[in-house]
């Protein structure tokens, strides 16, 4: 983990309220691993004061490029949105534990919703590079709001989109889709993020089929480096920090 200065290469709206930012930062691109967190300082003034945490979306060590997908939500992301190619950006990271592929695993499933999809894309990319089969269950409010679908298809993931508009994103349907994938491909690990609802659903399948599953959590943060104990979540081992002990936890460890 280090302080870095990056240079914005591109920063565009990709769908509804989603933005995609590409940053030149060789050091970070080299250091970061799948699922880790990077902290962006928004502007140089005291409002907003704290860095904003984002999951690494993609990174390319050879090109020295890192990418995020973000939703414009409040004053921090409003500032990030205004960055133009060539602008400098102050980055701290990478922080936390990454997603890891178990030795010998043949197929995995990633399952994400909304901007949460961003955090599981890099592990899918890694798996595909190693020839591992990837089922990607991607959920969104509308079909348009599902990010990374094309990217994941292009690299050979089996992509299944579900959405609220067509009533396909409910827990029953998603559970069924996940079970089908488990049965068809022999899923060895499941990677998910965010909401408790999806987490609990994944935990169900994980227990039923005895498949290790991992979840990436979010909490309000201050330091991002594990010193303030501001970002704890409840786990079976007491309060643990999301920024350092997480954001990726074994699904059995956390209290969903």
């Amino acid at each position: 983990m280090h302080l870095y200065r990056g240079i914005v290469l591109a920063n565009d709206c990709i769908a509804e309220m989603y933005y995609h930012i590409k940053i030149q930062c060789a050091g970070l691109a080299k250091e970061v691993k799948e699922g880790q967190i990077i902290y962006i300082r928004c502007g140089t003034l005291a409002d907003p004061l704290l860095r904003r945490p984002f999951s690494i979306y993609r990174f390319d060590e050879t090109e020295g490029i890192i990418e995020f997908v973000y939703i414009v939500k409040g004053k921090g992301t409003e500032i990030i949105k205004t960055l133009r190619p060539g602008n400098e950006i102050d980055l701290l990271g990478p922080g936390g534990r990454c997603y890891e592929l178990a030795a010998g695993v043949k197929a995995i499933c990633i399952i994400g919703r909304g901007v949460g999809i961003a955090s599981v894309v890099s592990i899918a990319e890694k798996a595909r590079k190693l020839g591992i089969h990837v089922t990607a269950i991607l959920s969104g409010r509308t079909d348009n709001a599902i990010i990374s679908r094309k990217l994941l298809s292009d690299i050979g993931c089996d992509v299944i989109g579900v959405n609220d508009q067509e009533n396909t994103s409910g827990p029953e349907n998603v559970t069924q889709l996940l079970e089908e994938a488990v049965n068809r491909y022999g899923i060895g690990q499941i990677f998910t993020c965010g909401s408790n609802r999806v987490g609990r659903l994944v935990r169900g399948i994980s227990r039923k089929y005895n498949i290790p599953a991992y979840v990436s959590l979010e909490e309000r943060m201050a330091c991002g480096i594990g010193i303030c104990y501001g970002c704890v979540c409840e786990t079976k081992n007491g309060y643990r920090t999301v920024c350092k002990d997480g954001p990726v936890f074994a699904i059995e460890e956390v209290v969903l």
Binding site: R41, A46, E219, I225, V232, E234
Partner: protein
């Protein structure tokens, strides 16, 4: 010009410069992110006698120019601290100031007794902003009698430098500082955080699991600075000032107001390198203004 002298004294202690972390905003991880040997002292997060879970999340909330925290001193207790954390810092040459927190006078005393025997601890900061369970839950530091008693009893147990850290949630902080001085404190540190709250209007719930928390960051600087100035005029022992220090300019303000050393808290979160940059900034300022010793700045506020 020759290299300016940044050394300051806190009682019998000499620091290579006046910059140190504020407890709870610094840790082992900080040392990996910046050239920590450049700062004046090491001051880890407050430790309690027994392990503490801390408060339920969310524990932090950003506010305008500041942040609220209600961590509740999550830590693994004094034994773990002594065995696992302290050794990490031992290779560093800077004085180690251990911050301790307790819920009764007796607990404070037991902790000081434990620390007294240990080498490599230069000073003990008494975080007396925690509720005094023997006296109905009001923080020790909100009462001059309780402050006097703790300092007095603790000083009888140790030769180490004793620094009570005062809470600003009082009517007149100089009265508390005076009590600490009379009881034999070697220095006082101020201020800790201000009690505050924030509400999420969507959920209608408090933004902190604990409802109320401590406000820190640049928002509070004018109030803490005022308290440091008032206190420095009323007592003879050194004042360690802090609250909202973001950069070297803020640090100079505190020194001018009479602080002999300064603590950097929330700024460590925005920029983990801020303490080092503050040391460098003070040095540059002294070079530019031909100030030979940082002691010339301390209390140099010009009035009238």
């Amino acid at each position: 010009m020759q290299k300016p002298d940044l050394r300051v004294k806190l009682g019998s202690l000499t620091l290579q410069n006046p910059v140190m972390p504020a407890s709870g905003t610094f840790g082992v991880e900080t040392c990996k992110l910046c050239d920590i040997k450049k700062i004046g002292a090491i001051l880890p997060k407050s430790v309690t006698l027994h392990p503490r879970q801390g408060n339920k999340p969310p524990r932090v909330a950003e506010t305008t120019g500041g942040m609220l925290n209600a961590v509740g001193i999550q830590n693994k207790g004094l034994d773990y601290f002594i065995e696992e954390i302290l050794p990490f810092y031992m290779p560093y040459a800077m004085p180690m100031i251990v911050s301790i927190s307790a819920y009764s006078v007796d607990e404070f005393k037991r902790m000081v007794e434990r620390l007294e025997g240990l080498d490599g601890i230069a000073a003990i900061e008494l975080n007396i902003s925690c509720p005094n369970l023997e006296a109905g839950g009001k923080a020790f530091g909100m009462n001059s009698g309780a402050t006097y008693q703790i300092v007095k009893e603790v000083k009888a147990l140790t030769g180490k430098v004793i620094i009570p850290k005062l809470t600003p949630n009082v009517e007149d902080i100089t009265v508390i500082a005076k009590a600490a001085e009379e009881a034999g404190a070697d220095a006082v540190a101020l201020t800790n955080t201000f009690l505050g709250m924030a509400i999420d209007i969507k959920s209608k719930k408090p933004k902190l699991g604990n409802i109320i928390g401590g406000l820190s960051g640049p928002a509070i600087k004018p109030i803490s600075l005022r308290m440091v100035w008032q206190t420095a005029q009323k007592i003879k022992i050194p004042v360690i000032g802090g609250g909202g220090i973001q950069n070297w300019e803020d640090a100079i303000e505190y020194l001018l107001a009479g602080a002999s050393a300064i603590q950097v808290g929330t700024a460590n979160f925005t920029n983990p390198n801020s303490m080092v940059e503050i040391v460098e900034g003070i040095e540059q300022y002294m070079l530019q203004h031909s100030i030979k010793s940082v002691e010339e700045i301390i209390g140099g506020l010009m009035i009238g």
